[in-house]
Amino acid sequence: MSVGSMLSFNTNDGYLDGIVRGYRSGILTAADYANLIQCDTLDDLKLHLQSTDYGDFLANEPSPLATTTIHDKCTEKLVKEFMHLRDQAVEPLGKFLDYMTYGYMIDNILLLITGTLHERDITELVEKCHPLGMFESMPTLTVAKTASELYNSVIVDTPLAPFFQDCLSEEDFSEMEIEIIRNTLYKAYLEDFHRFCVEELGGTTAEVMGEVLEFEADRRTITITQNSFETELSKDDRAKLYPSFGKLFPEGTRSIGQTSTVAELRKIMDSYGEFSEIFTDMDEELKKLENAFDMHSIKLNRLSFEQCFHYGVFYSYVKLKEQEIRNIVWIAECIAQDQKSKINNFVPIWP
């Protein structure tokens, strides 16, 4: 906790800090999950959720409930809480909260582009977009056919303009891999967010967000490598997608860039302290890696609440709430499809 943040944080952001910590106390506990697991139908689930912070949010839905409805309603509650914070925030908290939404904006843009390529209707695509990543000129995305057209007509007015530098080209979208575009954009976004937190905000926020974002970057490096082993992605192209910060940068990313099998990847990861714990219990094919990374990420987000007077709590709250929504939907799916044996495979938020 730096001295400056102790003395001046509460002037502008103390009230919102108090509110977000209040929201945190509404996240489902282990006891709530124990109740939810015991439900036999989705209506039971709805009943149990009424006694938590969710309250009557499903009251107006006609039964039988669908799991997609539960997912949409939970997300709507999270978005309402986030917009309450965003509407009352002043700079620089406002800019920080905006940075949090850029990830969703990238996903929405790529969803619209893919949908247009497959000739889907624009209105039903806009409905599928994540509500946190909306911006005004969304429907006009359909007219663009190449990346540079897209940039000049739509993107240049949005806050995502600087992230498009690396992937502007005259090639048609149908030829460029959508996943490559997604990963390039996300890499530029993560680097910019990291720079903003560490250089412009500084203090405790830099400490907490630095940890969280560095793990995100390392996680992406490993996941991209692991997923590219069976594909035709060349090593150079793959190396361009690794973020240029994090515990694995630059030494680790260089050596990971040379690997082509899972065994080589494991050997490199053994020499990194934080990751060797995750990798020791892992099976050969690294199938449970995603889950282990999720658990580690949740742990880091949980720890950010231990410090006072910083912005990391806002980011961590949204991440924890998203994990909770995934958990609730997993439990709901297991109940709906009558697969109770797998119901315990969610990631618990409070240990």
Binding site: G14, Y15, R21
Partner: protein, 211 residues
């Protein structure tokens, strides 16, 4: 080895004006910086500080006491108040109990008022030339010193109690039983202001403006 300027000093009459000191430099002066710059500066500073009226010292001391105490208390109240308001939205039960933190901050301002009243009682009109009696210099400076002590102690005490009060509100909103435990930390923080008050009272105990 001493500079020859210092060794030659006893044989000449001492210069009354600080700028005249430089005329008494020896021709083989060893420590030029000291003799030409440092000593005249110190002599100018000494004559300025001893020419300041004792009333000015005492008055500034009295003002600093109340000014900085209120600054500390206000800083503490705003830090606590913002967090308390935010935390009370989702946990309304903490509303009344956590006003104790605000009261502790307020107590810091009260220490400041008490000391300022005590100083202003000692700070009285002498009627004739105040510089005539040398005891008045002692009184002026002692009230100034007590005032600065009390003022700065209360400033940091108020900030300390404010930061702890904010954390107390946030922790109490999550788990009710933590409130009493963190209150003990606040009481220790509040004691810092009392230390300043005690020293202030001792230092200015025998200050009196007499004709």
């Amino acid at each position: 080895q001493l500079c020859p300027c210092l060794l030659a000093a006893p044989t000449r009459p001492p210069p009354t004006h600080p700028f005249a000191v430089s005329l008494y430099l020896s021709s083989d002066c060893k420590d030029y910086l000291c003799c030409r710059v440092f000593v005249p500066c110190m002599m100018v500073l000494h004559s300025i500080l001893s020419d300041i009226n004792p009333y000015a010292y005492a008055g500034v001391g009295c003002g600093i006491t109340i000014g900085l105490s209120v600054l500390g208390a206000a800083w503490g109240i705003w830090i606590t108040g913002a967090s308390l308001l935010g935390a009370a939205v989702k946990a309304p039960r903490i509303r009344s109990k956590n006003l104790i933190s605000v009261i502790f901050c307020e107590a810091v301002a009260i220490y400041g008022i008490i000391m300022a009243i005590i100083f202003s009682q000692k700070f009285s009109d002498v009627g004739s030339d105040v510089t005539a009696d040398p005891k008045n210099f002692y009184s002026g400076i002692s009230i100034f010193s007590s005032g600065v002590t009390v003022g700065f102690c209360n400033l940091w005490c108020g900030v300390c109690v404010g930061v702890i009060g904010a954390a107390c509100a946030l922790a109490g909103a999550q788990r009710g039983e933590l409130f009493v435990k963190i209150l003990i930390i606040e009481i220790f923080g509040s004691a810092l202001g009392l230390f300043g008050v005690i020293i202030g009272i001792i230092t200015s105990a025998s200050a009196k403006f007499a004709s």
